[in-house]
Symmetry: C2
Subunit: 243 residues, 2 copies
């Protein structure tokens, strides 16, 4: 693990009383979109995730769109970004709806949009449909100074389709490609992250998400080329990075 001087002190909010203050590696925390996307998450669950994100200095809190205004309020004054999802988790809506959803989220305070590609269109060879779908959401995001990450749902694609999706996302002006929703038949793999990094080059971000539950998982993904990690086990991951 990389040692760093600007260690920040975080109060452990769980575990045994003996833990007290632990020192967390902020270079790890800053990689992580602290994520709660399960459909039955309650207001109390979302508030707790926001408090954890402030405490640990995560990159963002990632929630379903309904919760964006609450998360903006909870994170006010902190450097933690508000991240939400568009067309999630199937990506099978109309482009018009994805744009409307993006605009509503941006007005509500979202700064990062993780959109799902039109998986069925890609698998039907309709590459223009996929590209224009991404482009319209990316343009809406950029008008609001937000960024867009493009979720491929790699477990439903073969390698050619993954590469095609990366090229389309890049051409469409997206900021990141992202492996998985976390609700598909599989999550991030080092193979997919490396493939995606090879296709998009160094200019774009690559976010690995789905099944990343340990510091070792995280390091496997960053070694393969990931520059952002989506996780819900984020607190456990950073606490195991404590020095």
């Amino acid at each position: 693990m990389q040692k760093t001087e600007n260690i920040f002190e975080a109060e452990a909010d769980r575990g045994s009383a003996g833990e007290g203050l632990t020192k967390i590696d902020p270079a790890i925390s800053r990689l992580i979109d602290h994520t709660i996307l399960k459909p039955d998450a309650t207001e109390a669950d979302v508030v707790k995730v926001c408090q954890e994100a402030r405490r640990y200095g995560f990159a963002s809190v990632c929630v379903n769109p309904f919760w964006v205004p609450l998360v903006r309020a909870e994170l006010a004054g902190s450097p933690v970004k508000v991240c939400t999802v568009i067309g999630f988790p199937f990506g099978a809506g109309a482009t018009e709806t994805k744009v409307a959803e993006a605009e509503t989220a941006l007005r509500g305070g979202a700064q990062e949009l993780d959109m799902v590609i039109n998986i069925g269109a890609l698998r039907s060879g309709e590459e223009d449909t996929v590209r224009l779908d991404i482009r319209q959401v990316a343009e809406a995001a950029h008008r609001a100074k937000a960024i867009v990450k493009v979720i491929l749902e790699t477990a439903l694609l073969d390698d050619d389709q993954k590469a095609a999706a990366c090229r389309l996302a890049k051409r469409a002006g997206a900021d990141f490609v992202k492996t998985s929703t976390g609700f598909g038949p599989g999550g991030a793999t080092a193979h997919d992250v490396a493939l995606m990094r090879a296709v998009v080059g160094p200019e774009m971000g690559v976010k690995a998400s789905g099944g990343i539950r340990t510091l070792s998982d995280l390091k496997t993904m960053t070694a393969a080329g990931a520059t952002r990690i989506g996780a819900s086990a984020s607190v456990k991951i950073v606490e195991s990075s404590a020095v």
Copy 2:
């Protein structure tokens, strides 16, 4: 199985050459929303489902919103309805987005909208949020002479929450309550269908969906009070109803 005089002849499109024509019970076919909602469904998959629905006389074809214009074209001139899903499968979007999605689908030709409730809001006790979310989608549907079915995702709710959701759907002017998305941790049960029927009374429809794969499953659900069935194994179900 109920015998009926207006048996309609359906050509079996699969199975061995020896099958030839089978006689299907149209009272069974007419109960079923023939459904393809998996996110990786291709254009060819959707077209095939439309052809099956015409041949067997299903109530509707139920697809993700991107496919609505294609399904409208494929079903033109048939009595089979175009059904789509709103806020699917998490229900955790903004009401504004659900309404925009509904309006786009209705313009595209949708005649039935299966919307997912805001599960997290319900579980947080925000009943007004849940009711107004349903009401705005129902009003959009009714303006276009379409109907709305309200998906509870029963596997994520306790019985009190299921009953509350049914009352809210009824007060909001919905046409049906529906058990499940088919992508949650559980599908339709006779217990839930009976509970839903008891709460909404005889005036509303009850749709059972999720895990209904046989004629016996279907009959269990109708006996419990279901008046519509969502299934993807619809062809197998009606072929086993052949007389």
